[in-house]
Structures are given as structure tokens and as C-alpha cells.
Symmetry: C2
Subunit: 612 residues, 2 copies
């Protein structure tokens, strides 16, 4: 079998001849970014073959790579099959998590009210006059005769008691003892809150005694190899049990990697983590639990379950205390998951009496509206434009991404994440760019680029060389090749603007449906909460300029950070909050947008940009 | 590696050179009977080497086998190590279960009150107007929103619903759905009751709808390879995790063999068995659950747990419905197990208002006494004499065992099980033999054989050739070699009588302690129940003659069959009875005999036989 070595990561794997480079990289534990799940249509999985790359380029490679690139050894990892020993250079992944907001939530202080209890007891030694069994002796001392225990845990007890002077700490979860530990360990209790995103997985280690977040770690969701969006993943899972298992394995492995990292950072013992609480969209929830999500994809988009699902850590291979309890918070509907529930939980918007909306834009867009009379949620198929997908030079919010674009002094200036040369444009940059071009009059309210060929005199000198006709229509050069990191111009295309219009139109229309259903008007909104990494980085001004949000005073719009992840944290930290999370879905009315004719009306109205 | 073929079973295994024949047989799935766990002291594991047996006999073989036998290829399986390809003849095991009473209990009609529930529902199909998740849809139809379900089971639901017109049957155990089945299967619900004996395991398949026993199967407890008694097994388990695992594996494999046989007999599908209820002594209970029984052996004989322990079938490898519930009924003390609890449960002696004693003689002897004021239990170290161990030609109650001995017309006559030529003597035969010899004046009340050498004239002609001096003292020929199946005389030795005296003395003394504690006298007993296979076959007259039981009118002594197994059956069949079983240990006072000085007094008094 041919060997493939990946540099600079220096990983080597042996694979069957005919395996694609993408799959070989996966086997080597590397993730090569792409949006199309290996179909060859996005052209993003570029790698450079140092050795073994002398096969003819495929049609897809010819389409996405320049002649110069092809000659230089560049290939698409999803297209190139390995036939002999090869060496492949994988451009180092820009750290998708350099933006700290992906990790941190908006809540400063969590309430400590642990769900698990640890109790230390010192027992009387047995004698022929007191032959009480070990377990009954312990339960008697705890004053809790009704607790259950499984043989696996129970088996540790007898030797432990006799080797530690009958001094033992029991960890109780619900009505069950999940762990016995020698001597007094009652001050050691930890849990991990997970935000399982389609793209990124974030884990926070909490000291449950104090409800403090003591470490955070994140990684790319490695299910990505089966496609960037939930529909691709569902399609893969639908192929059979093995494929479903693959998807579950990927996310569990990633969670285990995070746990390992958290333990390394904090020097805490693995078996002192007794709980995991996770949030994620409904597809992520199903895949995490190994449940077939097939029927989420077609109408009527029915989940297999909505309630919170509990399992033992060992049952799904999560490497904490084997009897630790893993709870995935409940979902609200097929496309309104526990991540949205987490937003409600963390922001406590369900307890507000004014009119408040929350918008969480991830790979999908979820909306929540709370008024005095109702609490509603919906999801809109915003598409992944805000995450850089479908955008010609789109990328996630990582170093080198254009994150801000300003129209100032009759010029258009860009800023990149980490201030390094630009290599693409992320969601907030996209919105800013559109807003700036609208303000500069280079994009019309309809979304069309200004027809500079017909009216060249109306284009200011600053933009004469930047507004031009490209292969697919008019485009605007944000960064010229000489200043970019990729040796070519970074541009905003007409098509990019159209994708943005569709995305923002969908979000806006969804919000309008909720507002209509609640019987209020846009102006009645007292606050709009922007949740998630996107919400935190997007310019509120630009969002208003392009009409992503209703025209409200800017101080009514507030970014709340990773509120979904915060939801997992508060539910992990506090029994009352977890109980509240379990009951929340019953209070939230789900609006299904796909069948509403009025959605189409709002959508079409919202596609245009507001007039400046 | 040398190969060993066992005939006539026709099984072949390859083993490491140096493996004993006993272990090779175990690897081949054959059980060769013996009492000493391979120590070479009991001489019972005789097999004949047809090929490969030319090594020098060991000291143990020389001791236990005659020259003729050694020349004929007979060896002790525990002594002989395999160095080359061999063929070994294993005498066909006499079926230890030819006595039907081992299988059948004394209860004719069980009450059907199933613990599990099966409910069939036909659900409305989901639509965009009713996007309720599958599980919530089902729970709504069942009217039980609070039920839990694990991902493993849940994952079967979505496809099943859509392939079977949303018609499904849910099986509910406690507050959990353990199984989904397509269409209406609510009339199919089965369970297995196990009596896990140290020597024999019996399983009964019950139709839980009707509480009828539809098949019974039994097998030797294959833990036997680690010793015949519980102390040998505990000693083995104490060596380490691997050894404990071996013991658990053995009993679980045997239980699975029984389940397989029950399924074969009844053509029932494996996953329609949803429950197992087991009884056994405390050591068996610990080993079945994989719990270290180490501290049961030394004083103060403390179990790890006493309560009923519940596990999922899949957790311990029992092959029924993987989510089926397995309950081992609670024990009362280290040496009074759930088998004794089963006797109380089945006989309902706890609900009686008169004075009633129960005696269950297995490898140990357990006693229960119920009076108006108290319910007490104890165990006595009766030793295994009643099961044929420690008796020179002792054997279990199988075909060819002398089961009855009568003194009649000045002669002593024997009867064997199945009326085939005798090959040994079982417990009931031993008691009968002693009683007959007492009646014939050949044994004195002290237990000594009549000194025929000093007083030859006092021996009747019938016995002149049968009472003789053997290698170990005086002995009585029960069956001469010419009529026996083994080509040698079958005798009762002075040592055999001594073993019997110790055993019956221990039982009697235990009963006297209970009687004393209860503040009654022997004559106050209204009934004595004899439980178990032994109790069913022992002659009540002989038991009275040798003083195993108090001198009561014979009609006050009643055999109740395998009451321990009946206990498992009633607890399987009925929720009320299972609840009663769980509470019973709190009502039973355990008497620990080992520290009582008065036990020694009663014991010494009870060693002698009553005067005829």
C-alpha cells in the first residue's frame, strides 16, 4: 500500500491505492478545510504535492487551480487519488479559534448548585456482631437507603474500605452512586460543558464546587470531512449504520481530545469529571448520541426525540469517570436545537417582560422572540454565507480574514484578523464590505453593482481600478494581489453580494414572521440580542446599513457572546437551571417557516438593501 | 501445540504443552467431575488415555488408581499434563438431572402480575403541522411522558415507525422503555428464573402473560473447575481480577447455554425475553454480578451487598433482550443467600402463624424458623457429605447412585437411581444406609461400626461377608463388585459414617439454636419443610432414625421440592412477590452460629445417633 507523508505536520499513513488525499489526511488525523464534502465544487481543499503528484489534473482541479498552480504541484485533496508513495504539503490551518469570543461566554458569574453530590463518611468496621454488608453499611451512614449502584462501581468498594480505614467518599448522581473514592475527596468535583457546533466544538471545564470555568478548549468538528453543513452529514448518516457510527465517532473523538487538553491544562484527574452537559443543533445532538438523523432532512423535519437525553459516559465512549452522566439538553424542533435553548437559558429572555429578540447565526440562523405574551423560535435557511462558504474568497473568522471594511474619506479600507496580510473574507467582513460599497454608491439598493462601464464618470478615482469586470461579472477589489497573502486579488463579486442578500433576507424575513405572529411591530422591539461568534464581531452599524436587522436605535442591539455555550455552562453549574432547561421546550412555540406563504413575501421584500 | 481429542464427545482442542487434561477438557467445553479443584486429592476425575498417555503416573495417580487401571490407560485428568497429540476417553457424565425434582418446584400455579408492561399503539403520522418528535409522539400516545429511553433502543424507532405504518409496541420496565417492536407484539413476553446453585444451575422459561413455566433446563455449574465448594471459588476469585472474571464468565456462559436450550425447546425469539430473576447463595450472587466475594470467606463473613442488584442483561453478557433487566434477589447474610430467601418466599412461611422450620441442604445447609414472634435464619457448615463429596464412593444423585437402602427381613437391600448397576452412593442413599445399619445393629449409636472381629458370633449370616475390615477400618459392602458398574465393591466406610455424623450434627445443632432463640421447644414445631432435591428424596423415616431431624410425627415433615427455585419463579411472575422479596431480608433475623458457644454443645450432643 502506498504511504503518504503530510508536512509540515509530519504525519504518515499507509492507505489503499486509490484513496483520495482528503481521506488519507483524515486517516492521519488532519483536517483539510472545504465546503463541498469532497465533491470538487468548492475548490478549497488545496494542498501541494511535493512527491507523487504527477497524475493528470482532473476537470475540477483544472477549474479551480491556475496553470501556474497546477505546474507548482497544487491539487485538490478531494480529487487526487493516491497511487504511489507521496509527500504532501498541507498549508497550516489558520487557527479558527484565535477569536477568543468563540470560547468565552457573556456570563461573568455562574451560580454553583451542583447536580451531583459528594459525601465523605467514616464507617464502623464490621464484626461478627455487626455483619452488615459493605454497601448497606455505607448507605446507612449516608442515610440514603434508596440509592442504587451498579456492579462495576460496587466492585471497587470492599477493598477500598479495608485499605483506607473504612473512610470513603461517595459520588451521587440522581438516585445512583456513580463512584467510590478512598478517603475524603468531596472537594474535587468537575464537569465539562460542550457546545457542539457543526463547525467548531468548544469545551469548558467547570469546578462544580464554585461554578468557575477553569479551562476552555476548542477544536474543529472533524465530522467536517463528511461535509460542512448538517444536510451533508445527515446524507452520510443515512447511508447506513457504519456511516452513522463514523459520524458519532468523529464528534466523540473530538470531545475526548478537548477533555484531554482540559485535563492537561489543569492537571485534574480524569475520573474526577462526573458530568457533561452539551448543547448543539438537533442534528449534532442526534449524531452525538448515535441516533439516526435521517428524517430531519426531508419535510416534515421530524427529530427522533426532543427531550434531554441522558447516558453514561462509558456508553458513548466519552472518557471521563465511566459512570459520569452525559446530558444533551433538549431541542425545540428539527432545526431549532439545544443551542438555541441555551441562548434562551443563558440570556434568561424567557423571564423578560419586554419585547426582545435573539439572533444566533451559525451554519444556520436561529431566531427567538419573547414578548409579554409569547416565546417563539424559528430557524431560517440563511445558508453558510456568513461563515464564508459560497463566497468566492470566503473563509472562516481566522487570522488573515478580512473582518472589517470601512468607507471613510471617500476610500474603502480593510482590516484583517491579527493584522496579517489578507487571505480571504469572513462573515463580518462580508457585511462590512457590502455596507461600505452601499455607502460609496458602488452597490445599488437592488444589490447590483453600479454599472461603471455605462457611467464611468460617476466612479471616483479611488475606485477606478478597484471596480472592474471579472470572469463572472462586476467585482470590487478589496485587497490587491501585491498586498494579499495569496498572491492574487481578494475581491467581492456580484455573486457574493447576491449570496449575502439571500442570507440576510432569510434572517430578516424569519424575524418578521415572529414579530407578526406575536402581534407587535418592528419598532416595538426593546432589544435585539446577537448571539454567537458572528454576532459578537459583526458591526451593528453595518448590519443596520444592509438591513440584516430592523431599523432600531443602535443601543438596542447588544452582542451577548457565545450564549449557546453559556447555556450549557449554566445548566452544568446549577441544578435549578438544568431543571429549567428540561422544561423550557414546552414554553417555546416553534414556527415552521417552510410552509408559510407570508415568509416568501417578507423574504422578497427583505432581499433588497435599504436605501441610504 | 499438541492436540487433544475427547471421545465419545468428539471434541478437539489445541493447547499449550504442559496443560492439564482437566483444563484442556474445560477448553473443549467438557466438564470432568471432581471435588478437590484439581489438587489430586479426591481421585474422581478419572479418564482413560487412548493415545498419548505413556508418561509416568504421578504419586496422586498411583494412590487413587489400581495397577490394573494404570496399565489400562486410566489417569487423573487434573494430574496428567499434555505433551503430545492425545486421544482421551471421558466416561459419559451421568445426567445429574435425571431426578426431575431438581427442575420442578412445589408450586402448581403461579400468579401472573408481570413487572414489565407491553403496550401497542398506532400513532398519527407527523406532518408540517405536527412536527412532534418520534419519541414524544409515542410517549404522548402511551400517556407516559416521564419514561426514559436509552439511545441504543431509541435508534431503532424512526425507521420502524415509517416501515410499519406507525404501529409499534413498547416494552416498559420500571420507568424505562427497554424495547420497541414493530406492530402488535404485546402478547409475547417471557422471562427466565434462575436457581444458581454451587453445583447445578436450573433455568425456567416463563410466559409472563400467564405465569406458566413453559420449559426448564439445567446444567452443571462450570465454576466447578475451580473447586466444588464456595470457599474454593472465593479463594480463586481472591487471586485477582482475571480470576474473578473467569468465575463470572463461567456462570454467565452456563446461564446462556440454558437460555439457548430454552429457546430451542420453545422456538421463542431471544429478544422477547425481557427479564431474568435469579436466586443463589451469597457467593454465587457475588460471582454472577462480578463482585469480589473475598471478604465472605474470613470472619466476620461480610458480603459486599445484601440488597437485590439490578443490571441490564447486556452489561453482564446475558443473551436475552440486551436491555432486559436482570435481578438477583437479595441475600440475608454472607452464608444465607437469596436461595434461602426464595424458600421463604415460595413457601410463604413468613406469613404463617404456627411454628414452622425449613431445612435446605445443598452444598451448605440453611435453616429457617418461623414462630409467632420471630423469623430467623442461619447456615451451618454441614459440609458436602449429603452431596456425596468426602464420602469414599460418594456421588451426586445421578443414574447409578444408590439412592435408597432398606433393612428388611434381616437383610440390607439397595436401590439405584434408574435401576441401573450401582456406581456410587448419593446423599439419600448415605442416610438410608446409616439408618439401615443402625437398625441392623451393625452401627452403634456412637457411630462406630459393630466390632465384628471381637464378637463374630453376633453378626448374622447375611452380613458375615459384607461387614469386613478394609484398608481404612471396618466397612460394609453395599454392592459387591460383581453386581456393580465399576468392577469393585461399593462400600460404606467408618469414615463415611463419621462424615455423615458431622453433617447431620451441624444441621441439628443449627436448628436447636434457632429453636432456643425463639423460646420454643422441639415438640412445639408444627411442621418441618424439607427443601431442595435432597429434601425431596431423603427418606423421612431414615432422617428421623439417624437424628437428622427432631423426633416428630412423620406427617409433620413435608418435602417442598426446589423451593429456592420456586422463589425465583414467583418473584419473576409477580410484581407483588418481587416487592415482597426485596423487603423480606429486613424481616429475617440472621443468627451467626460461629461465635456461639452453645452451638458447640448442641453439636456434640447431636453427633451421636439416637438409640433404636
Amino acid at each position: 500500500m502506498p504511504k503518504v507523508k503530510f508536512i509540515p505536520q509530519n504525519r504518515e499513513v499507509e492507505v489503499e491505492a486509490g484513496t483520495t488525499l482528503l481521506n488519507a489526511a483524515d486517516a492521519a488525523g488532519l483536517y483539510i478545510e472545504g465546503d463541498c464534502a469532497g465533491k470538487g465544487t468548492c475548490g478549497k481543499c488545496r494542498v501541494k504535492m511535493i512527491k507523487g503528484g504527477d497524475a493528470e489534473p482532473t476537470a475540477a482541479e483544472k477549474k479551480h487551480l491556475s496553470k501556474k498552480e497546477l505546474l507548482g504541484g497544487w491539487v485538490l485533496a478531494c480529487q487526487r487519488k493516491i497511487e504511489k508513495d507521496s509527500i504532501v504539503e498541507v498549508p497550516i490551518q489558520k487557527d479558527a479559534h484565535s477569536r477568543k469570543i468563540t470560547l468565552a461566554g457573556g456570563i461573568e458569574k455562574l451560580e454553583a448548585e451542583p447536580v451531583i453530590k459528594k459525601t465523605h463518611v467514616k464507617l464502623d468496621r464490621p464484626s461478627v456482631k455487626d455483619q452488615t454488608a459493605d454497601l448497606e453499611r455505607l448507605l446507612g451512614a449516608l442515610g440514603k437507603e434508596d440509592l442504587t449502584v451498579k456492579p462495576r462501581e460496587l466492585n471497587a468498594l470492599p477493598k477500598m474500605l479495608r485499605e483506607h480505614k473504612f473512610s470513603v467518599t461517595a459520588t451521587i448522581s440522581g438516585n445512583r452512586i456513580i463512584s467510590f473514592e478512598p478517603d475524603d475527596t468531596s472537594d474535587q468535583m468537575y464537569g465539562v460543558a460542550f457546545d457542539i457546533g457543526t463547525t467548531t466544538i468548544v469545551g469548558s471545564l467547570l469546578d462544580l464546587k464554585t461554578a468557575s470555568v477553569i479551562a476552555v478548549s476548542a477544536t474543529t468538528n472533524p465530522q467536517n470531512i463528511y461535509g460542512a453543513d448538517v444536510i451533508s452529514r445527515i446524507t452520510h448518516a443515512n447511508q447506513g449504520k457504519e456511516q452513522l457510527q463514523q459520524l458519532q465517532n468523529k464528534v466523540i473523538e473530538a470531545a475526548n481530545d478537548i477533555i484531554k487538553d482540559l485535563l492537561k491544562k489543569t492537571k485534574i484527574a480524569r475520573d474526577r469529571i462526573y458530568e457533561i452537559v452539551a448543547v448543539g443543533n438537533t442534528t449534532m445532538s442526534h449524531l452525538f448520541m448515535g441516533i439516526d438523523p435521517t428524517y430531519l432532512a426531508p419535510a416534515p423535519f421530524v427529530p427522533v426525540y426532543s427531550r434531554a437525553l441522558d447516558v453514561e459516559a462509558a456508553e458513548i465512549g466519552l472518557k471521563i469517570n465511566p459512570a459520569g452522566r452525559v446530558t444533551f439538553l433538549p431541542n425545540i424542533a428539527g432545526y431549532v436545537g439545544s443551542d438555541t435553548l441555551g441562548v434562551i437559558l443563558a440570556t434568561k429572555m424567557d423571564q423578560r417582560s419586554d419585547n426582545c429578540a435573539a439572533i444566533d447565526i451559525g451554519t444556520n440562523g436561529e431566531l427567538v422572540l419573547k414578548t409579554r405574551d409569547t416565546l417563539m423560535a424559528c430557524s431560517t435557511a440563511a445558508g453558510p454565507a456568513f461563515e464564508g462558504a459560497q463566497i468566492r474568497q470566503g473563509m472562516r473568522a481566522a487570522a488573515g480574514a478580512i473582518e472589517a471594511v470601512a468607507y471613510k474619506d471617500n476610500d474603502i479600507k480593510v482590516t484583517t484578523i491579527d493584522n496579517v496580510p489578507a487571505c480571504g473574507i469572513c462573515g463580518s467582513g462580508l457585511i462590512d464590505a457590502a455596507a461600505a460599497l452601499l455607502q460609496a454608491g458602488l452597490i445599488e439598493p437592488s444589490g447590483r453593482f453600479f454599472n461603471f462601464e455605462e457611467n464611468p464618470e460617476k466612479v471616483s478615482d479611488h475606485f477606478k481600478n478597484r471596480l472592474r469586470r471579472g470572469k463572472t461579472g462586476i467585482e470590487f477589489v478589496l485587497v490587491p494581489a501585491a498586498e494579499s497573502d495569496i498572491g492574487e486579488d481578494i475581491v467581492l463579486t456580484q455573486n457574493d453580494v447576491r449570496e449575502l442578500q439571500l442570507a440576510k433576507g432569510a434572517i430578516y424575513a424569519g424575524l418578521m414572521i415572529l414579530i407578526k405572529e406575536a402581534g407587535i411591530q418592528e419598532k416595538d422591539l426593546d432589544q435585539i440580542l446577537l448571539a454567537g461568534a458572528f454576532g459578537n464581531y459583526v458591526s451593528r452599524e453595518s448590519a443596520l446599513t444592509i438591513g440584516l436587522l430592523p431599523q432600531l436605535p443602535i443601543d438596542k442591539i447588544k452582542a451577548v457572546g457565545n450564549a449557546a455555550g453559556d447555556g450549557a455552562r449554566v445548566a452544568l453549574a446549577s441544578k435549578s437551571e438544568r431543571d429549567r432547561a428540561v422544561k423550557l421546550p414546552h414554553q417555546v412555540k416553534h414556527m415552521e417557516l417552510s410552509t408559510r406563504l407570508d415568509f416568501q413575501e417578507f423574504f422578497i421584500e427583505a432581499i433588497s438593501f435599504p436605501k441610504i
